[in-house]
Symmetry: C2
Subunit: 329 residues, 2 copies
């Protein structure tokens, strides 16, 4: 921050505040970075913040107070997050420059060993729980999509997770052609596409598996797995994430399904389930050691079915798959 | 919009897009309101959007395309949401005025009879499920906070909800002094503060009850219930929401607990769990017929316990409590 002549920063994104202070706001809060950093929060969160924050906490009263703090601190060039709501951006304008600089998002790309340990733990819990669930048995017993999602959520919590990383996807039969399908009240069909994860000490895991049954489903599965394997094999420090996307996409395209790979190849994750960089066509971020990304190619045949396979990969000397959950369930 | 000389609007808030089009984006999407409205969305959501949207849908490629659309349409004064990310706001600037005007949030304050029916249905499901849960029995059997939350979530889904409105709060013993406590892996203690809701056709319910045990807990409970009852009794079209907040707050203050009522008295809800207006000190919105708000005063004694009682209220000739869940459980 200092290198670029900023003398202050204002943060509202919950996990940016948690990353810096360990306090995870449950309502609106703002963190002002200056010589003497300060968090302003709702009275509702005062007890929680006092117990968890490493940064001084006061009550948020109004945006004009933030202006007073800028003035008092003599701040001239203040960084804001690109996610800051425009309504707030307009309210805190004054005789200082507000410039978008996602310093925290950039810093959060490289994980510490503690962060990686927490993600490994979250992943281990989510895989153990998935095995315990026994999805093949659930299918034989005609369970419904949402029953499976609830049971998996319960098992992850029972095994030590604090919560799910996101709403578990159990998309079966034709539903699996929607990458972000919502669980329905219907019996499992094939293929069974599951995408799930949990949090440990705030850090996310994220995995997808697809249980296939017919010959056509097997054929698509093999293509997706080849794309995933080769994308992971290409990972090393120094490579741009768009190049990894290109490798996965070119394999799927060779088999004639390029138009059916309708999302990016992966994303980084940590405290948030989606962090920078995005492993997409357009993202030119260069991989560095101790980044953690997912690689999750998929093929989606409208109204028919979809297959997605996703693993978390830690960047070491090369791409190291985290966990060892079998692909064929 | 036309009355105020706007000739276009840009929406990114998921439930604003759902409200207008019936399509609920699962990834980034933008809706451009002009003579010929248009939604731009991810290829990932194309199938879902084509099946559900009443507004024409195309693929989102880049922000420069949005600028082209503004130019082509000859748009001069374009409304934006106050929640729009500043990063996007900066990207779509050009030879037009972008002005914050939360038209949709204002329109969504007044509910149609269909919307109210959906909220009544969500509420009925959530109350039926709460009764089935039998929280007193759970306490006698030493269930844990998160087991109760999971079972209630399961019951609501079983009874016809599509999902929870928010993460169920089961905050017991000292945890109940945190208004937004996270469920822990610990056995239920008293008081048991629960705050839960579910969605039906996208519309939220929201209820809180506190099961009290000791004499001190009963005393606090009675004060909160008196504040809630008198606040609800004061509701009628034409009154400002801040006046309702004042009534609840003054009762709690009279009993000496003003500093322990650490949040606003309530909020509107609908597709989102928190909508405008906020029933707070500062909000001067005037109540109108067919608004729906919650009234949820609470008293929180740090490190000791908290009590909150919450009901949904529809504005008719007066405030009509929705549902009829007993206060004493």
């Amino acid at each position: 921050m200092e290198n670029e002549d900023f003398d202050g920063m204002i943060l509202t994104q919950v996990n940016n505040i948690k990353y810096l202070s360990n306090y995870s706001p449950t309502s609106f809060a703002v963190c002002i970075i200056k010589e003497d950093p300060l968090i302003l929060t709702s009275p509702m969160d005062k007890e929680l913040a006092n117990k968890t924050s490493s940064i001084k906490v006061e009550e948020f009263k109004s945006f004009s107070e933030i202006e007073k703090i800028f003035k008092k601190g003599g701040l001239k060039k203040i960084a804001i997050e690109s996610s800051l709501a425009t309504g707030i951006y307009k309210k805190i304008q004054g005789s200082w420059d507000l410039e978008i600089k996602d310093f925290l998002e950039t810093e959060r790309m490289i994980k510490s060993s503690d962060e990686i340990n927490n993600m490994n733990k979250a992943l281990a819990i989510s895989h153990k729980s998935f095995k315990k669930l026994n999805i093949r048995e659930k299918w034989e017993k005609s369970a419904t999509e949402w029953e499976v999602a609830y049971e998996l959520g319960y098992l992850m919590r029972e095994n030590g997770a604090s919560e799910e990383s996101f709403e578990t996807i159990v998309a079966t039969g034709a539903n699996s052609s929607l990458p972000h399908a919502k669980c329905e009240n219907k019996k499992l069909e094939t293929p069974i596409l599951m995408d799930w994860g949990c949090k440990f000490k705030g850090y996310c895991s994220d995995t997808s598996r697809t249980i296939v049954h017919s010959e056509k489903q097997e054929e698509i599965f093999d293509i997706v797995l080849e794309a995933q394997t080769k994308a992971i094999d290409s990972i090393k420090p120094g490579i741009k994430v768009c190049e990894i996307d290109k490798i996965a996409r070119s394999i799927i395209t060779e088999y004639g399904y390029g138009d059916n790979f309708i999302h990016s190849t992966g994303h980084s994750l940590g405290l948030d389930i989606h962090e920078k960089p995005n492993v997409s066509k357009k993202d030119e971020t260069i991989l560095e050691k101790n980044m953690v990304i997912t690689i999750e190619p998929g093929i989606y045949l409208e109204d028919t079915f979809g297959v997605r396979i996703e693993d978390m990969v830690k960047i070491g000397h090369k791409g190291e798959i985290m966990g060892n959950l079998p692909y064929k369930i």
